[in-house]
């Protein structure tokens, strides 16, 4: 008779997997990937390191999943805004402001997800995420051009520039958020105002 997991065991496995992902995310948020060796993730999740490797063949695969879940969540939020009833310029402003405010509210995660040096597999997942974000902004810009709210422009270039602009302003070497005493709401507003002017809205 072939080995078959019982429904209860399946549930326990899924519960452990979820706890491991939550624990890894918490450690990354607190101190980046280097704050999250597998032993620390195991301790935080209350499982053995062996169990982690049963769910994730390598540390890189664990973090790829932490990152892809976070990206999927952010993309859902952006797509929810993009699908709204407002005119394209307003949706573009809302989407950028939402992204930037969420990043400023979780600077540890934002730094780890966007700039901390990582394994090539995690870096590849980061690039995929950036392209997904770019896709949402490209469609918003195309909407605005189609409705006449934005002037004719190369939507691919505009989307890439928007992603680059808020990324640098959030976590880049020239980021004003690195300065002390920055008002985060004013910063988010300045960044989205920049992008909105750039799209021509």
């Amino acid at each position: 008779m072939a080995y078959k997991r019982s429904p209860l065991m399946e549930e326990r496995m899924a519960g452990a997997r979820e706890r491991i992902l939550v624990a890894a995310r918490e450690l990354v948020a607190a101190g980046g990937y280097r704050n999250a060796p597998v032993t620390a993730v195991a301790a935080q999740a209350g499982v053995s390191t062996g169990l982690i490797y049963r769910h994730f063949p390598s540390k890189a695969e664990l973090f790829v999943e932490v990152l892809s879940a976070a990206v999927a969540h952010e993309v859902d939020i952006l797509e929810g805004i993009a699908a709204g009833p407002e005119p394209a310029p307003q949706r573009l402003r809302l989407a950028i402001t939402a992204f930037v405010r969420r990043a400023l509210a979780g600077p540890g995660l934002a730094h780890a997800f966007i700039v901390e040096p990582v394994d090539p597999e995690v870096e590849a997942e980061r690039m995929r995420g950036r392209r997904r974000f770019g896709g949402v902004f490209r469609r918003l810009v195309q909407d605005g051009i189609a409705s006449g709210a934005f002037p004719a422009q190369d939507a691919d270039v505009t989307a890439a520039c928007i992603v680059g602009a808020f990324t640098e302003a959030l976590v880049g070497p020239t980021a004003p958020s690195r300065q002390a005493h920055r008002d985060e709401h004013a910063l988010a507003d300045s960044i989205s105002a920049f992008c909105l002017r750039a799209a021509g809205g």
Copy 2:
């Protein structure tokens, strides 16, 4: 009697140093830092690896100097444009277009200088360079605000967004320049048009 280098020897040393820097730059342009081990730099420059280490204590220090020389050159060009007689919006457009066209003309160097994973010392120099570029754009934006050509805005945010925008559009994961058959002049024009609209000019 203390050892003293003759003028001829000083000149030869300087000549070798210059040849090493040129050789390193050529190899990086052709295939990135990983294409430029010290042995290859020595062969290209026609010197021994020992001589390279007499001039540069480590490979990282050699590449820091290659990068800082390139940054200084680009900053000189940008500052030359920024000091011109044209109104601020025109100088901003000229500066961005010049930077972008130069990067598109040397994609190997642009990739190595901006995104290729590098030693921490080289990465630190890269961050310094990015702040220097940001400084030129910040002053141009401030000029434009002062002359009334640009609306009131946070010049730090605008400068960071400009640097982020053209960097991503040039070499980021969402970069349109990664697509085949892109017209480089049209791309440079689109990027500078984006930034100029964003500054409000």
